[in-house]
């Protein structure tokens, strides 16, 4: 502690029980993480100071942005030094002609798009938490969002990152111009969930705002028809900016919450947004309407920006709306091939029924990224084992059709022990080698992502998620 106060002013090294307990969790269902000293650096050198101090004391380091992660990636185990980047929240530079901005990691996702709006540019990844999540966290999880369908997830929008390695060195990976000779270390780092270093600056690629946008609300009598329409749109050679699907349970919850005008009698609605130049937008929107109507869908076109904003408000308020129904929810995140959507959704409903739970589905249908939300009340005796059993069954059902464990939330602690379901021992060993190249000490956010055994170098290695951490 004393040593940390040599590198940071004492008001930015916090040790009060309340502060440490706040930092003990993120937005996931994990409880019981234990933070050591909590540091709030304002620049790269201070981050280096924190890392050097932690290393000298044999402590692990857990980087943390806004704490909105859903997989427990930022949950500190065994009292590590927690390095919070929220005070590093400045926009460092914007080059509108090159469409590159340098930002600090604590900058809020939406604040970047707001700051670049005068240049007609925005940052494409838009997680539902974009009003509060940090760009450093987006880099850590390789975050997605509705508008990543056409333009790709965070990795496609990060040109370079400045990283403080666990050796204390600061290094720039990638190049803001877009390419530098050598291996794509930038790409390896994005999505590494704080296990390779601490992000201290990010060069992001900015995307021009589209000249034309059309947003459609398609309503269906069955989830099957909605899912088939999604597959039909993709199969037709259209890659909309976004395709989001919501089932009846969530439609009703959202309507009661924000009144976005979603039809509460529909089994499912699909929001399709096409953007680009006017000719393509008009043609693609017409084609989507044709494909939806052929499958029994009814169509509402957003007439203006206000109506469009309302539809998106409905979509993005889903999580808030749920709080009115049940005190707790567990949001899952798997991806399946887009042609298997309807089948896996039906399986999700069966699983939930088998475990006597409630589910709501609101997800990025266009890229097959499912987000079943299991609703429950933690106070109900015996509920947690059912919630976890249903979650495990959903993961298994997704993998069984050629899907993957996570589309955008990451592995963290949540899915760490599911990794062997998707990867062989040799596959996991290769991932551990990649991590070791960046962090031979294993002191960066240990015990996440890779199951124990895949990386023997982890200090503080735990045999399993400690008791009481799984809610």
């Amino acid at each position: 502690m004393r040593d940390l106060r040599q590198v940071l002013p004492s008001d930015r090294v916090r040790t009060a029980p309340l502060e440490r307990s706040l930092m003990g969790r993120d937005a996931s269902i994990f409880e019981g993480g234990r933070a050591g000293p909590v540091c709030f650096p304002v620049g790269t050198e201070e981050v280096q100071g924190c890392v050097d101090t932690a290393r000298r004391h044999g402590r692990a380091v857990v980087p943390r942005g806004a704490g909105t992660g859903l997989a427990g990636g930022a949950v500190p185990l065994e009292e590590p030094v927690v390095v919070v980047t929220t005070k590093m929240n400045r926009l460092l530079s914007v080059d509108a002609d090159s469409r590159v901005a340098w930002v600090q990691p604590g900058m809020i996702n939406l604040d970047l798009s707001r700051a670049t709006a005068p240049y007609g540019l925005h940052f494409a990844p838009d997680p539902s938490s974009q009003q509060v999540c940090s760009l450093g966290g987006n880099v850590g999880t390789n975050a997605g969002g509705p508008h990543c369908l056409a333009h790709g997830v965070t990795s496609s929008h990060v040109l370079a990152v400045e990283v403080v390695l666990m050796s204390g060195e600061a290094v720039v990976l990638g190049n803001p111009d877009g390419w530098a000779p050598g291996m794509d270390l930038r790409g390896a780092y994005v999505g590494s969930e704080g296990m390779m270093g601490i992000t201290t600056a990010i060069a992001v690629r900015l995307t021009p705002n589209p000249p034309a946008v059309q947003t459609l609300l398609l309503a269906f009598d069955s989830v099957d028809a909605a899912a088939q329409t999604v597959s039909a749109v993709i199969a037709d050679g259209i890659v909309p900016a976004a395709i989001e699907m919501m089932d009846n349970n969530i439609i009703r919850a959202v309507e009661a919450f924000v009144g976005a005008g979603f039809p509460t009698d529909a089994a499912a609605v699909v929001i399709v947004e096409v953007d680009g130049l006017p000719g393509g937008v008009a043609e693609e929107a017409d084609r989507v309407v044709e494909l939806a109507t052929a499958r029994g869908g009814s169509v509402r076109r957003a007439a203006d920006e206000e109506e469009r904003a309302l539809l998106w408000k409905g979509r993005k308020s889903a999580f808030g709306a749920i709080a009115r129904i049940m005190p707790n929810y567990y949001l899952h995140d798997t991806v399946v091939p887009r042609t298997r959507l309807a089948e896996v959704m039906n399986r999700v409903y069966e699983i939930v029924e088998e475990h006597d739970l409630q589910v709501m589905n609101v997800f990025h249908a266009g890229d097959g990224n499912l987000h079943p939300m299991l609703l429950f009340d933690r106070r109900e005796p015996g509920i947690m084992p059912r919630v976890h059993a249903a979650g495990a069954a959903i993961i298994e059902a997704s993998l069984a059709v050629g899907g993957v464990l996570s589309g955008e939330h990451g592995i963290g602690m949540e899915k760490r022990d599911f990794m062997p379901l998707m990867f062989s021992e040799a596959d996991l060993d290769a991932q551990a080698r990649l991590r070791r190249a960046f962090d031979p000490s294993g002191m960066a956010n240990p015990s996440k992502v890779l199951p124990t055994g895949a990386s023997c170098a982890d200090i503080n290695a735990l045999d399993k998620v400690p008791d009481g951490v799984w809610g």
Partner: protein, 303 residues
Amino acid sequence: MADREVPAELELFAAEVGSEGPVAVVGGRSHWEVGGLCPEDTRLVRAPSGVRSFDPADMTIRVGAGTSVAEVDAALAEAGQRANLPLTPGATVGGVLAVGRDDLHALGRGRLRDALLEAVYVADDGQVVTAGGPTVKNVSGFDLCRVLVGSLGTLGLVGEVILRTWPRPAAQQWLAGPCDPTELRRRLYWPSSILWDGQTAWVHLEGHESDVESETDLAKSLGCEPTEGPPPLPLHRVPVGALADGGISGSYLAQVGTGSAYVSEPIPVPSPDPAVVALHERLKAGFDPRGRLNPGRDPLAAT
């Protein structure tokens, strides 16, 4: 542990790679010298070839890494799709991924490094390893696929890949003229390519017919005229920043917005940060401690 069924041709490939002795994978030899040559005693192997599966509605394709980019493009074209691979004559999918050069249209279509969803490779010990996953979106574990692109086969020998595919647009047009490339980028909404040789800018537009028409008119108003195609690419790739340092003796062509430029005569490029070099060394030491995979090749020298 996940019990993967390894296809017979990959088993064969792994057996050929084996676990002893220097070995390199040969594709179409279109960029054989990039990053250095293998010593003469290096055993050469070829990755399996052929399209394994392609479901147009999933917009992904699984191919042997030894498949030519032309064959993949032809298979995708039948379904009105394409992948963001450079269509270098004679080149293989594994080859272009190992070399890591973007297609000329990367500005609008996306980078080569984002095209790779899953790679099955043979590791230094002869084991078959899968990196990434088959879906278009995937953050399950560390993103090993990204480092494989541009690694010149020095971390593992890729045998099979799953690529993301995209719709092929209805219309396209190349234009060229003495216009300012920055102005073109500023004014045109989504050009797929802007090239600049210091005097002439080339721009490629694609998309819906009426949009290509209107953007063509806009490009004309900025001084461009329709042309057949892009100019031939000079031989050597350099980071675009190296052009600004001067010392260019031959011709060059900058690929705007991608960080790459091509020069006819080699020019000095900035030395990499020692910390970046150290990361490369640790990666190589971690994945191939005996240095048997594509010996003599250095991704940092792959310009």
